[in-house]
């Protein structure tokens, strides 16, 4: 009887610890993320576009469309499909995903790029009727080519932590340094060239251990645009 009572007490303690973890979660994630982000933003003040893009995270759908339609890439090779993104916790702790309110009925397909006011958000990973799943840019399986300010190319991969990515591979001899802004390369077909991907938060040796800070708006509910490639006759 005593052993059974101990078992019940142990389960109660475990439950309390789990609930305590839920209670502490917002405190841990917000304080750490905000402090790091503030330092990096100060470092990146000279990159006015980055600052502007962070401030524009509250753009509504129409302003978001206007912003990208006025850019040189839009309209040429991508159809912009607006949608609402809602963040969610993927049941697998290492994965990072979100949900969209549009799906296959709007022509969304797996592999299409997703962008927000702050730049790259992710790629479509699953599609259904009226919904789709986005693999966010900090997911370890998210891989795209990038370029630095000088046009040197490399391969970006998400993770290992939430909100960060890492340069997986250097194609050209890139010198990774703190506060370096990385943009999309345009290769791969999911994203056009020149979109903001992230900023180097911690340059390390080897380069693949460096950390790239992604948009703070990545895990917030926001208006996004899905990039649907326009296939012309020469591409078919």
């Amino acid at each position: 009887m005593k052993r059974t009572q101990s078992a019940y007490w142990a389960i109660c303690c475990w439950l309390v610890l789990a609930l305590l973890g839920y209670g502490l979660q917002p405190l841990v994630s917000s304080s750490r993320g905000d402090a790091e982000h503030q330092i990096l933003l100060e470092q990146a003040l000279q990159h006015s576009l980055l600052l502007e893009s962070e401030n524009s995270a509250l753009f509504d759908r129409q302003r978001l469309l206007d912003r990208y339609l006025s850019a040189s890439f839009a309209g040429s090779s991508f159809l912009l499909i607006p949608a609402r993104m809602t963040p969610l916790l993927d049941p697998a702790p290492r994965r990072s995903s979100a949900r969209l309110d549009r799906g296959s009925e709007d022509g969304l397909e797996i592999g299409m790029g997703v962008i927000g006011a702050s730049g790259v958000v992710g790629k479509i990973a699953a599609v259904g009727q009226g919904w789709s799943r986005v693999q966010l840019a900090d997911d370890p399986a998210f891989v795209i080519p990038f370029v630095d300010e000088s046009g040197h190319a490399g391969i970006f991969a998400g993770g290992p932590e939430a909100g960060y990515g890492q340069p997986r591979l250097r194609i050209d001899p890139i010198q990774i340094k703190d506060a370096l802004v990385l943009r999309t390369h345009g290769g791969g077909g999911a994203f056009p060239e020149g979109l903001i991907l992230g900023i180097v938060a911690d340059a390390r040796i080897p380069v693949s251990d460096s950390r790239i800070l992604l948009s703070r708006a990545l895990h917030t509910s926001q208006e996004i645009l899905v990039l649907s490639p326009i296939l012309n006759a020469s591409h078919r």
Partner: protein
């Protein structure tokens, strides 16, 4: 096979994963309470019960997620097989030696997970971080699991 408490404990371990998610992500999944619970079970319990818990963990993580089947099953299978293999040479009932089974098994599961997920083997820094966090989580979780063992009603658990 009495599974009521087994299911409850599995759900509790998955609740713990959600609660300490930032820690689990930071450690690269090595300090995953659900996998630590599965490893504890795999140390001495019977195969049907181990497979039941493994299936529950995989099913839960597959619903509403973007993971493929192989990404979910691979690390779990690697963990169970590693634990069962290491217990051939180390005493799974020993309070300290079982950590020598657990940590390498979790490490193998993590390497398999990262390889399936990202296509790369995790770096040393990542592994070291994960190892000390997994030791910490296991050191907290194992005494609790030892206390709840009578509820599982299996002769495999020492009285």
């Amino acid at each position: 096979m009495r599974v009521g408490w087994l299911i409850t404990l599995t759900l509790l371990s998955m609740l713990t994963v959600g609660a300490y998610r930032p820690l689990v992500v930071y450690s690269g999944g090595i300090a995953d309470p659900a996998l630590i619970f599965l490893a504890w079970l795999a140390l001495i319990d019977r195969w049907p019960r181990i497979l039941l818990v493994a299936t529950m963990i995989c099913l839960y993580r597959s619903f509403g997620g973007i993971s493929s089947v192989i990404e979910l099953v691979g690390p779990v299978v690697a963990l169970i097989l590693s634990v069962r293999w290491f217990r051939l040479v180390l005493d799974p009932y020993h309070p300290w030696k079982r950590f020598q089974i657990l940590i390498p098994a979790l490490l193998i599961a993590c390497v398999v997970q990262e390889w399936l997920l990202a296509g790369v083997v995790p770096g040393l820094f990542f592994v070291v971080n994960g190892c000390w966090l997994s030791v910490l989580v296991a050191a907290l979780l194992f005494p609790v699991l030892d206390l709840v063992a009578p509820l599982l009603r299996s002769a495999r658990y020492p009285l």
